[in-house]
């Protein structure tokens, strides 16, 4: 069994290496006609850039996407700095008309333009061997990972909590493997968000699947979505095995897999293939922070009935469905049963849950940051909507474009992606959900103040062992409540149920019940029969 496991690991590492190496393979060559067509469709007006593209790029063979993209970026930057100089010159001459004219020649979306040209210019090995490369990367990766995971069915022994050696293992206890994985993930996200042109080869590998699903070639976001689903399924298998004695975990894992694959991935792809706006029906504002951005509103309002339906559904989802469901079931219905971010955290992230910080300081920090992000997302939306309806470009002194760009960059890309997922191995699997997600903040407020959900503490049975706190991915010091006999009613609890699972004494139960008696400050723990009337008198005197 162990031999199979380690063979699987070797296959997986080989697949990951090939996956990484593909970025350095393949040729890139754009013909004159491709370049001309590209200049036309992109509306490039800079003569300098046109010349650069036609002389330096066209009909030249580049050995990989890095060299190719660098050449394009150099050309664009050269052109941009030429016009910047002109702008500065006319500015100092106070020649405003001339200055104004120059802006149309500048290219602002350097990354996007570079990516699009690279996508059109791939040649050679990668493009010609998409199927083979799919098997060598995704195929072998899946097989290797499954071979690594499936033997646990026997190796872990009888069903039950098996957290042996988590703190002896360099992968799960912030050892060198964890740091290595973190660096890999961070680089992955940086490339995905900020330099997609370097990962264009990955999109070629998935072109056939993308075409089958939505009729178009794969973008970097298709790669991400596909990879996301694959990782969740494979790591979901790991969850099924690890928690096979625990039906709550089995159901929850099935639910997040279903919503990711069907709602987040398949439905939007199919909608796109039907020329509808691709929409993830479970992705609620303000996690879906660009729902009220002009481009989205324009796209929805011009898409007929379905667009209107999405618009209404999106608003109803946030204002009615979300709080109502939180009232009945707690925020877990979303965060650990439906959400995509939560789904990744509960599958890929499960091995890292113990790395969340449990200190009081972390809790204080968390409340400031997460509610800050919620406020920011609401201000941004307010500004955006005001500008959308009024036609102005700023509101209460805040420029609409600026705040959208700032939020998308810092919160959307850095916080949710690079830090949120990249730092799994070091800060635990819910960094984004705990510190950053504005929807989690909103759900948390409802859960804390108006909900039937709680984690019930079983009388006086707690022995303060600390398994619950250690394995709480949200960094809640569960034990602090349990050892006092208090129920756990916390805004940040996503109801993953692991505290209850790891408890050796049957102390914790997630449940939905009457609001009355949900919060139970207990003066004396169950077990010691004091004279309660005396105690009450004494308390009254003290207060």
């Amino acid at each position: 069994m162990k031999a199979i496991k380690y063979t699987g690991l070797a296959i997986f590492i080989a697949a990951l290496s090939i996956f990484t190496a593909t970025l350095f393979l393949g040729d890139f060559k754009a013909s004159k006609s491709t370049i001309n067509e590209f200049i036309e469709t992109k509306g490039i007006k800079s003569e300098l850039l046109k010349k650069e593209l036609l002389t330096v790029i066209s009909d030249t063979k580049f050995n990989n996407s890095i060299a190719f993209s660098s050449a394009i970026k150099t050309a664009i930057n050269k052109s941009n700095s030429y016009y910047d100089a002109l702008i500065e010159k006319y500015d100092s001459e106070k020649n405003w008309d001339k200055k104004g004219e120059q802006f149309q020649y500048k290219v602002s979306n350097v990354g996007g333009i570079t990516y699009d040209l690279a996508k059109k210019s791939g040649k050679g090995f990668v493009v010609e061997n998409r199927g083979l490369l799919w098997w060598l990367t995704f195929g072998m990766g899946i097989i290797g990972a499954l071979l690594f995971i499936l033997p646990n069915l026997i190796l872990l022994g009888k069903p039950g909590i098996k957290n042996d050696h988590i703190y002896h293992n360099a992968a799960t206890s912030r050892g060198w493997i964890a740091w290595g994985v973190m660096i890999y993930l961070v680089i992955f996200y940086l490339l995905l968000y900020f330099a997609p042109y370097y990962v264009v080869n990955w999109t070629f590998i998935l072109d056939p699947i993308s075409k089958a699903l939505n009729g178009g070639p794969a973008s970097q976001w298709f790669v991400y979505g596909f990879l996301y689903c694959v990782i969740m399924i494979v790591m979901g298998v790991r969850m099924y095995i690890k928690y096979r004695h625990n039906k709550y975990q089995i159901m929850r894992t099935t639910s997040v897999l279903f919503f990711q694959i069907v709602f987040a991935f398949l439905i939007p792809e199919i909608m796109t293939s039907l020329s509808m706006p691709g929409y993830d029906f479970k992705n609620a504002f303000p996690l879906d922070y660009d729902f009220f951005f002009e481009w989205n509103l324009k796209s929805l309002t011009s898409s007929g009935g379905i667009g209107l339906f999405i618009l209404v559904w999106g608003i109803v989802l946030t204002l009615v469905v979300v709080p109502l469901m939180v009232y009945f079931f707690g925020k877990r219905w979303y965060c650990s049963w439906v959400c995509g971010c939560g789904g990744l955290a509960e599958t890929l992230g499960d091995p890292y849950r113990q790395n969340s910080n449990k200190s009081l300081l972390a809790w204080k920090t968390e409340r400031w940051i997460i509610h800050g992000v919620l406020a920011l997302s609401l201000i941004m939306t307010l500004v955006t909507l005001y500008c959308y309806f009024s036609g102005a470009d700023s509101f209460i002194g805040i420029k609409s474009q600026w705040i959208k760009d700032t939020y998308s960059f810092f919160i959307g890309a850095w916080f949710a992606g690079v830090i949120g997922t990249g730092f799994y191995p070091i800060f635990g699997n819910r960094t984004w959900c705990r510190f950053g997600c504005p929807l989690a903040a909103y759900l948390g407020l409802v859960q804390r103040f108006k909900s039937r959900f709680r984690i019930t503490t079983n009388g006086g049975q707690c022995i303060s062992c600390g398994n619950c706190s250690t394995y709480c991915e949200q960094g809640i010091d569960v034990r602090a409540y349990a050892q006092k006999g208090e129920n756990i009613v916390r805004s940040s609890c996503v109801g993953c149920g692991i505290c209850s699972a790891v408890c050796p004494r049957g102390v914790l139960k997630l449940e939905n019940g009457p609001e009355e008696g949900r919060i139970n400050p207990t003066e004396v723990l169950l077990g010691n029969d004091v004279d309660l009337i005396e105690l009450a008198k004494q308390n009254r005197k003290a207060s």
């Binding site: 042996d164 293992n169 022995i463 004494r505």
Partner: protein, 445 residues
């Protein structure tokens, strides 16, 4: 300002300190020789198994003590002089107290076995024991086999720990079935089977004769008294119970028996000296309880009660209905009320076991009145508050079984067995009970 000194920073001493701080402004000093900060002794096993780091066993962050003005002193008390109200430490320092709380817990029993002090023979109680086990049994190359002597809760925990390092374990149990001084036959046998399913070499009805030396002061093997069989091993776990850790009081005027003699207010024979937790011995057992209760919960309850007494509200240690819990490898165990290994006069048991052999319940009740006396539950979690209430209300076994769903505390979506349980009860007792569905109204009544 009155100075309360507490010897021992376990659950009893720390609970007392916390509650004294809640109720008063007294100066509080907690003395320990074991660790700087309070930790949960019951969690030591998880550190060895790699589920947690030692710091995770500490329920309070390190700033907690200063913030709550609880002074921590590391030192070993050699002598308590009650005439001058002073503690004398091994480093010759002296600490004066106005009130003294002794909460020094237990130490593992050693029954004078030959070789019991060899390297590799150890108990599992303190942080030092954990460190020693890490040294004695880091892996199955250094420790090729371990023998555990004594079939109680610590013994089975130690076996579970060693298994995680792939160390073969032989488990010597004096009784002819595991823990059958406490558990009825059905439960005890279920655990026997479970232990064997985990490939532990369980030997029932045997005693340790001696531990043999390898010539360098290390454990080489053990010999079984009954058979003379010699088993080679590198570690011997001595887990045949614990006894009060009170040797340092020998020279003092404080009355001791097996433990420190206390009355219901947890007062010793000396004014202003109290004892709580594992080291305290009631003059007479309370209700059906033993005079010495080495249990987590009782230590905590004594700490709560004594804090009130010390802060001006004399409060008896008045434990309510008995409850306890444990985990045997993968099987959780809870108990509420009294279920004896053998039913007492006028009592009888109702036993149900699931077909998978990993879940069972055993209810003890009065044969004539049907009064519910207690329940053992294995592999099914039950609600403490509900059973506590049923015991106070002196409900019948029929009431308990009819409303069993109210007491179920298993996670959501788990299979429930109440119908199956009641069907068995009905057929054995010729009754027609029907299980009622769970009612929040009743639970919160």
């Amino acid at each position: 300002m009155e100075h309360v000194v507490i010897i021992g920073n376990g659950i009893s001493g720390i609970t007392a300190a916390r509650h004294i701080r809640k109720l008063s402004d007294k100066k509080i000093t907690v003395v320990s020789t074991e660790t700087d900060y309070f930790f949960s002794r019951t969690a030591l096993m998880y550190v060895y198994m790699g589920h947690m780091k030692f710091e995770h066993t500490q329920p309070y962050e390190n700033w907690f003590w200063k913030k709550n003005r609880i002074e921590l002193k590391k030192g070993f008390v050699q002598h308590v002089d009650t005439t001058t109200s002073s503690l004398h430490f091994s480093d010759n320092s002296i600490l004066n107290y106005d009130k003294l709380i002794i909460a020094t817990g237990s130490k593992p029993n050693k029954f004078g076995w030959p070789g019991q002090d060899l390297n590799g023979a150890q108990g599992l109680y303190s942080k030092q024991d954990l460190d020693m086990l890490e040294k004695n049994a880091p892996n199955n190359k250094v420790c090729k086999r371990a023998v555990i002597v004594g079939g109680g809760l610590i013994g089975i925990e130690m076996a579970e720990m060693l298994l995680t390092r792939d160390i073969p374990v032989t488990f010597l149990v004096r009784e002819d079935s595991f823990w059958n001084g406490v558990l009825p036959a059905g439960e005890s046998d279920m655990i026997n089977r479970h232990i064997r399913e985990h490939h532990i070499d369980l030997r029932l009805g045997v005693n340790l004769k001696e531990i043999k030396d390898d010539g360098n002061g290390n454990v080489k093997s053990i010999v079984i008294a009954e058979t003379g069989e010699e088993i080679e091993c590198n570690v011997v776990g001595l887990t045949a119970g614990v006894s009060p850790n009170i040797d340092f009081l020998k020279e003092s005027a404080i009355e001791t028996g097996r433990g420190i003699k206390v009355n219901r207010f947890l007062e010793t024979n000396i004014k202003n000296v109290y004892a709580i937790g594992d080291c305290a011995e009631q003059h007479e057992g309370i209700g059906q309880r033993r005079p010495i209760e080495a249990v987590w919960y009782t230590g905590r309850m004594m700490g709560e009660a004594l804090a009130r007494t010390i802060c001006g509200t004399p409060t008896k240690y008045n434990p309510g209905h008995w409850f306890n819990s444990a985990k045997f490898l993968d099987i959780e165990y809870q108990t509420y009320g009294w279920v004896w290994a053998q039913p007492k006069d006028g009592e009888t048991n109702f036993y149900w076991e699931h077909a998978d052999g990993n879940k069972c319940i055993n209810i003890n009740f009065n044969k004539n009145t049907n009064k519910f006396i207690g329940i053992n539950t294995f592999g099914i979690r039950m609600r403490h508050e509900i059973f506590d209430r049923w015991l106070t209300q002196e409900q019948t076994v029929d009431h308990v079984l009819t409303h069993l769903k109210d007491a179920n505390f298993d996670p959501e979506f788990y299979s429930q067995y109440e119908k199956e349980i009641v069907a068995k009860y009905n057929s054995e007792n010729n009754k027609q009970l029907k299980v009622k569905s769970k009612s929040w109204k009743r639970i919160f009544a």
